[in-house]
C-alpha cells in the first residue's frame, strides 16, 4: 500500500512539474494544482498510513491516526485554493490586457521602459 501512495505522489509531482514548465498560463495553473495535490498528500502521509482510525475521539477507542498533519493540510488546501484563484485572475488579466497567454516576460518588458 505504501508503494501505491508513494508512486501516486511521485506521479502527481512529475506531472505537476512537467505542466508547470509549459509556456502557457493555463497549463501552468493545471500543473500547480497537481503539485498542490502532491504536496498535500505528501504532508498528509508524514502521519503514516492508517486505516479506519480517524482522529475523532470515541469512548472505548484508544488508537487514532496522527491528527497534526491533517490539521496542517486542511488549511493548506484552503490556502492553495486562494493561491490558485489569484494566479488564475492574473493569467486572465494578462490574457485580456496583453492579448496572449504566454507566461514568459517579453524582451521589451525585461529591458524596461528606457530600452
Amino acid at each position: 500500500m505504501e508503494f501505491l501512495i508513494a508512486s501516486a505522489i511521485g506521479s502527481l509531482t512529475a506531472a505537476g512539474v512537467y505542466l508547470a514548465l509549459r509556456k502557457r498560463s493555463f497549463a501552468v495553473v493545471l500543473g500547480m494544482t497537481l503539485l498542490t495535490y502532491a504536496t498535500n498528500l505528501f504532508l498528509f502521509t508524514t502521519g503514516r498510513l492508517v486505516i479506519d482510525q480517524p482522529p475523532v475521539l470515541r469512548d472505548g477507542v484508544t488508537a487514532y491516526t496522527d491528527p497534526l498533519p491533517q490539521a496542517l493540510v486542511l488549511t493548506a488546501i484552503v490556502i492553495s485554493f486562494g493561491m490558485t484563484a489569484v494566479v488564475v485572475v492574473m493569467a486572465l488579466g494578462s490574457f485580456i490586457e496583453g492579448g496572449d497567454d504566454h507566461i514568459d516576460l517579453p524582451r521589451r518588458d525585461r529591458e524596461g521602459p528606457g530600452a
Partner: protein
C-alpha cells in the same frame, strides 16, 4: 543616564520631525535640539565616573546564543566621541535651522540628521561588535539620504550613490573582518575582544581580519585611494558637510582603528599599512586641496588630509602618538566644523562658493572674516590655536619615526599652511570686487553663533590645553592604549625638531601661496587622474558582469528559471539524503486492498491522460476533477474525513473558477515547444517525481524518529479543548494562531483578486472586454427554469447542511472551513442557475464585509481570553442543559470557528464574484447598468 538610553534618545528625537513631515523649521529643530541636549546631558552626567577610570555599561541580552546582545559601554574614548557628536550636533541643528530655506522639507532633513546622530552615538557606545556593525551601516545609509537631500541636483544624487557604494563596500569587508575577530576571540563583546591581544595577533586570521577591517575604516574615513567620495559628498547641504563629512562620520573609521588599537596595533603590518596610508593621504589631500576653487572642495580635501594625519598617528602605535591623535580629533572637529559653517555663510551671502569669484570680503563681512581667520590659522598650525599644538605633536612623532616620515609630513604641512592661508588671502583679502552674484553681508546670529562657539573652543583650548582638553584627551588616549597616560600639553617646548619643522612648514606654505598662480598653471599642464571616471568604469563593469550573470539565469523564461530552481532543490535534497542518517526501513507495509488498487489505477490513468491531453483545456479540467476526486477518496480511506470533505468542496469551487476563466482563455494550448524542450522538461519532471516519491516511500517505511507532539493533542483534545474532533480542535484551539493567520491570508488573496479585477475592468482591459468576440457557442437557454427552481429549493436545504456541518465540527468531521465551502458552493449554484444579476439583487451583505467580519470575529474571540487573564486565543467551554435534548456544548472556539466560516464564505464568494464580473463586462457597452448594481434580470447578456 545609561549608555543605552543615550543612544536611544537621538532615535526618539528622529521620530518627531519624521512624524510631522510638514512641520516648521522651528518646531523640527526644537524637537531635535531637546533630544540632543538631553543625550549630551546624560553623557556629561556620566563623565565623572568615566574620568575616574570606570567603564559605564548597559547589558541587554537579546540573542546571546549567537553573541548578539545590546551591550553598551562608555569609556574615555566613547566619551570623547560622544561629546563631539552630540555637542557639534547641537550646534549644527541650530545652524541648520537658519541655513535651510522655507522651501526645504525640514521634517525629513532633521529626521535624517537625528538618525545619523543616533547611529553615530551607537557606534561609539557599542560594546558588541555585531551591533556596532549595524550602527555602522546605518551611518552609511543616513549619510546617503543626507548627501542626496536636494534630490533635484544630479551632483547630489551621484555623490550620494558614490558615497554609499564606497562606504557600504568597505562596510561589507569590515563585517567579514569583525566576524573573524569575534571568531578568534570567541566572543563578539568588544571588551572581551580587546582583552585578547596575544590570541588575535598570533592567529592566522590576524592579517586577513586586519586588512578587511582597515578596508572598512579607510573607506569610511576617506583614506587614499578611497578618498574620492568625500569631495563629491559636498553636494550635501552645508550643515551636513560640516557635521558628517568633517566632524563626525568620517571619523568613524578613525574611531574603529582607535577602538581596536589594543588588539590590532603594534605589529609591523599595522605600522606598514596604517601609517603609510595615512601619510600618503595627508600629502595627496593637502596637495589637491590647495588647487580647489570650490570653498567646500578645498575644505573637503583638507579634511581628507587631516584624516590622513590622524590615521598616520594611530599607525605609529605609540601612546604619545595616540594622545596626539585624540587631541587632533578634537582640534580638527572644532576648526573644520567652524570653517564649513563659515563656507556656508559665505555661500548664503554671496551666492557663490567659487574662490575665483570671491575676494575682498574682509570689510563686507567682518564678523565672518574674524571667525574664518582664526579657524584657518588653527588649521594652518599657527600658535596659539589648538591646531598648532596637535601639529607640533604630530611632527614630533613623525620626526621620531623611521625613514622619510618626518620629511613627507613636513611637506604635507607646507600644503596645509598654503591652503589655509589661501582661504584667508584669496577670499577675504584683496580689493573689494564689483561682481559678486549678490551683495555679501554678515548673517544673523542663528548662523554665526555655532561657528563662533567653535572658534572660542579653538582659542581657549589652544591657550589652556591642559585645563580645557587635558582631562578628556587623557581619558580617551588611556582607553585607546589600555594604559594610564599622563600627557602634558604646552605651547612652548623649547627649540626642538618639531618647532623647526613647523617653522619650515609655515614659511614654505606662505611662499607656496605667493607662487600660487604659476603653481596652478603648472598643475593644469600636468595630466590629471579623474577618480570619478575610474569609479564609473568599475561600477559599469560590475553592472555588466552582474547583468550577464542574471540574464544567464533568468532570461524572462519562467520555465527556465523554474527548472533551474527545481534542479538546485533536487541536488540539495539528494545531498541531504546522502549526508543525513535514515534508519532502516522497519515499518511493515499495509496489504494492498482491491479498492485501493482501483483507486491507484484511476489516479494514474487520470494523471497520464491529463498530461497527454492537457492542450485540450476543457477536457483537461474534467480530468483534473477526476484526479482531485481520487485524492479526496485517498484522504477518507486513510482516516482523514475532514480533509476529504475540504478537498472535495474546494475541488468544486476551483473547477468553477477555472471554467469561468476558460470562458475567455483559448480553449486549446498551442504546441509551441520543440521536442527537445519537452524531452528536457520531462526529464526534470521525472527526476522531481522520483525524488518526491522516493522520499515519501522512505518516510512511510519508517517510524517516527522521535516522539511526535500529536499524542498530547489527542489526549487533551477533550480535556482542554472540549472537542472530540481532534483536527478541528487543533485548528481552532491548539494551533488557533496559525488558523487566524491563514484566514487572514485567504481574505487578502480574495481582496487581491478583487483589486486585480477592478483594474482590469477599468482602462485598456475594459475596452478589450467590450469588444469581446466569444469563441464558443452559447447555451440556448442561459438560465434553465428547471435548474433555477431546483436550486431555489435546494438553497435552504444546503444552508441547513452547512449549519449542521458547522455545528458538529467540534466533535465530528466538519467545522468552519468545510461549512464555509459548502455554503459557498450552494450560493454559487444559485449564481449559475439564476444569473449573476438576479443573485446580486438579493444579496444584502457585501463579501468584503464578510471577510472583515470573519477576521474580526476570530480576533475578538481570541482577544476575549485577555479578559479572563489568559493569553490570546485561549479557549474555554461549558455545557448548557436544556430539558428534553442532549447537553449542548458552548465553547469560545465556536466564535473563532464562526470567524473562519465567515471569512471562507466571503473570500470564496468575492473571488467568484470577481470572475463573474469580468464575464458580465464582456461584450457589452457602457450603456448597460453597472455590474454590481441592481441590473434587471433580463439585461445580463446579449
Amino acid at each position: 543616564m545609561t549608555p543605552a538610553l543615550i543612544v536611544a534618545l537621538p532615535f526618539l528625537g528622529a521620530m518627531l520631525p519624521g512624524l510631522m513631515v510638514r512641520t516648521s523649521r522651528n518646531a523640527a529643530a526644537m524637537a531635535c535640539g531637546v533630544f540632543t541636549a538631553l543625550a549630551l546631558l546624560g553623557l556629561i552626567l556620566n563623565a565623572p565616573a568615566v574620568l575616574a577610570g570606570e567603564i559605564v555599561t548597559t547589558r541587554i541580552p537579546w540573542m546571546s546564543q549567537v553573541g548578539l546582545d545590546a551591550d553598551f559601554m562608555l569609556d574615555g574614548l566613547g566619551l570623547l566621541f560622544g561629546i563631539l557628536i552630540l555637542g557639534i550636533g547641537l550646534l549644527i541643528i541650530l545652524y541648520a535651522r537658519f541655513y535651510l530655506s522655507q522651501a526645504d522639507a525640514a521634517g525629513p532633513f532633521f529626521t535624517y540628521l537625528m538618525l545619523f546622530q543616533g547611529a553615530m552615538t551607537g557606534i561609539v557606545l557599542s560594546d558588541n561588535i555585531l551591533m556596532l556593525l549595524v550602527f555602522w551601516e546605518l551611518t552609511s545609509l543616513s549619510s546617503f539620504l543626507l548627501i542626496g537631500f536636494w534630490k533635484h541636483l544630479p551632483e547630489g544624487r551621484q555623490g550620494a550613490r558614490m558615497a554609499l557604494n564606497v562606504t557600504a563596500m568597505g562596510g561589507l569587508a569590515m563585517i567579514a573582518g569583525c566576524l573573524m575577530l569575534g571568531q578568534v576571540a570567541g566572543s563578539y563583546r568588544l571588551s572581551d575582544i580587546i582583552a585578547q591581544r596575544e590570541a588575535i595577533q598570533s592567529s592566522a586570521l590576524y592579517l586577513p581580519a586586519l586588512l578587511l577591517i582597515l578596508l572598512g575604516a579607510f573607506t569610511k574615513s576617506a583614506q587614499f585611494p578611497f578618498h574620492f567620495w568625500l569631495p563629491r559628498a559636498m553636494a550635501a547641504p552645508t550643515p551636513v558637510s560640516a557635521y558628517l563629512h568633517s566632524a563626525t562620520m568620517v571619523k568613524a573609521g578613525i574611531f574603529l582603528m582607535a577602538r581596536l588599537w589594543p588588539v590590532l596595533a603594534g605589529t609591523p603590518e599595522w605600522f606598514g599599512i596604517v601609517a603609510t596610508v595615512g601619510l600618503a593621504t595627508m600629502l595627496i589631500g593637502g596637495a589637491i586641496a590647495l588647487f580647489q576653487d570650490d570653498l567646500k572642495g578645498l575644505l573637503a580635501y583638507s579634511t581628507v588630509s587631516h584624516l590622513g594625519l590622524i590615521t598616520m598617528l594611530l599607525g605609529f602605535g605609540t601612546g604619545a602618538a595616540a594622545t596626539a591623535a585624540m587631541f587632533h580629533i578634537i582640534a580638527h572637529a572644532s576648526f573644520k566644523a567652524a570653517l564649513f559653517m563659515g563656507a556656508g555663510i559665505i555661500d548664503h551671502a554671496a551666492h557663490t562658493r567659487s574662490i575665483r569669484r570671491l575676494g575682498g570680503l574682509r570689510t563686507l563681512m567682518p564678523l565672518s572674516f574674524g571667525l574664518v581667520l582664526i579657524a584657518s590659522l588653527s588649521m594652518a598650525g599657527i600658535p596659539p590655536f589648538n591646531g598648532f599644538l596637535s601639529k607640533e605633536m604630530m611632527l614630533e612623532q613623525a620626526a621620531g619615526a623611521a625613514g622619510l616620515f618626518g620629511w613627507v609630513a613636513t611637506l604635507a604641512s607646507v600644503f596645509s599652511v598654503a591652503y589655509s592661508l589661501r582661504l584667508i588671502v584669496h577670499v577675504f583679502l584683496g580689493p573689494v570686487r564689483e561682481d559678486y552674484p549678490t551683495a555679501p553681508h554678515d548673517p544673523g546670529a542663528g548662523l554665526w553663533l555655532g561657528p563662533a562657539l567653535l572658534v572660542a573652543v579653538v582659542i581657549v583650548s589652544g591657550l589652556f590645553p591642559n585645563a580645557t582638553l587635558g582631562w578628556i584627551v587623557t581619558a580617551a588616549a588611556s582607553s585607546v592604549t589600555g594604559q594610564a597616560l599622563h600627557p602634558h600639553f604646552a605651547l612652548w617646548h623649547g627649540v626642538n625638531p618639531a618647532l623647526l619643522m613647523s617653522a619650515l612648514a609655515i614659511t614654505g606654505g606662505a611662499a607656496l601661496l605667493a607662487l600660487w598662480q604659476p603653481a596652478d598653471r603648472l598643475r593644469q599642464s600636468l595630466p590629471r587622474i579623474d577618480a570619478k571616471a575610474i569609479f564609473d568604469a568599475v561600477v559599469g563593469g560590475a553592472e555588466r558582469v552582474a547583468g550577464a550573470f542574471t540574464d544567464g539565469f533568468s532570461n524572462g523564461s519562467m520555465s527556465r528559471a523554474l527548472a533551474a530552481q527545481l534542479l538546485v532543490a533536487l541536488a540539495c535534497g539528494f545531498g541531504a539524503w546522502q549526508s543525513g542518517l535514515a534508519g532502516p526501513a522497519s515499518r511493515p507495509m499495509l496489504p494492498v486492498t482491491p479498492v485501493a488498487l482501483v483507486g491507484w489505477v484511476m489516479m494514474l490513468v487520470g494523471i497520464g491522460t491529463l498530461v497527454t491531453l492537457h492542450r485540450r483545456r476543457i477536457l483537461a479540467l474534467v480530468l483534473m476533477g477526476i484526479v482531485g476526486l481520487t485524492v479526496s477518496v485517498t484522504f477518507v480511506y486513510f482516516s482523514a474525513p475532514d480533509l476529504a470533505l475540504t478537498q472535495i468542496s474546494v475541488e468544486v469551487v476551483t473547477v468553477i473558477i477555472l471554467l469561468l476563466a476558460l470562458n475567455f482563455l483559448p480553449k486549446r494550448t498551442v504546441l509551441d515547444t520543440s521536442n527537445l524542450k519537452r524531452g528536457g522538461d520531462a526529464f526534470v519532471a521525472a527526476l522531481a517525481g522520483l525524488g518526491v516519491g522516493g522520499l515519501a516511500f522512505a518516510i512511510l517505511r519508517r517510524d517516527f524518529a522521535f516522539p511526535s507532539i500529536s499524542g498530547y493533542m489527542v489526549e487533551n483534545s477533550h480535556k482542554l479543548g472540549g472537542g472530540d474532533n481532534v483536527v478541528n480542535v487543533i485548528l481552532v484551539d491548539f494551533r488557533g494562531y496559525d488558523t487566524y493567520g491563514e484566514i487572514t491570508v485567504l481574505g487578502i488573496a480574495a481582496l487581491t483578486i478583487f483589486a486585480l479585477t477592478e483594474t482590469m475592468l477599468g482602462g485598456r482591459g475594459a475596452r478589450r472586454l467590450q469588444g469581446w468576440v466569444r469563441d464558443m457557442r452559447r447555451a440556448g437557454d442561459r438560465h434553465p427554469l428547471m435548474l433555477g427552481v431546483a436550486t431555489r429549493v435546494l438553497l435552504p436545504l444546503s444552508l441547513v447542511v452547512g449549519l449542521y456541518i458547522f455545528l458538529r465540527g467540534h466533535n465530528a468531521p466538519g467545522g468552519g472551513f468545510i461549512a464555509g465551502l459548502i455554503v459557498s458552493v450552494a450560493l454559487v449554484m444559485h449564481y449559475m442557475a439564476s444569473g449573476f444579476a438576479w443573485a446580486m439583487q438579493r444579496q444584502s451583505i457585501p463579501y468584503h464585509a464578510l471577510i472583515a467580519l470573519g477576521v474580526l470575529a476570530a480576533g475578538v474571540t481570541g482577544a476575549g481570553a485577555w479578559f479572563a487573564g489568559q493569553p490570546f486565543l485561549t479557549s474555554a467551554f461549558g455545557y448548557v442543559h436544556l430539558p428534553g435534548i442532549e447537553p449542548i456544548e458552548l465553547a469560545t472556539a465556536m466564535g473563532f470557528d464562526t470567524g473562519v466560516f465567515l471569512c471562507v464564505v466571503g473570500a470564496v464568494m468575492l473571488a467568484l464574484n470577481s470572475f463573474a464580473r469580468i464575464a458580465r463586462q464582456a461584450g457589452r457597452d457602457h450603456a448597460a447598468p453597472d455590474a454590481t448594481g441592481t441590473a434587471p434580470t433580463q439585461a445580463t447578456q446579449p
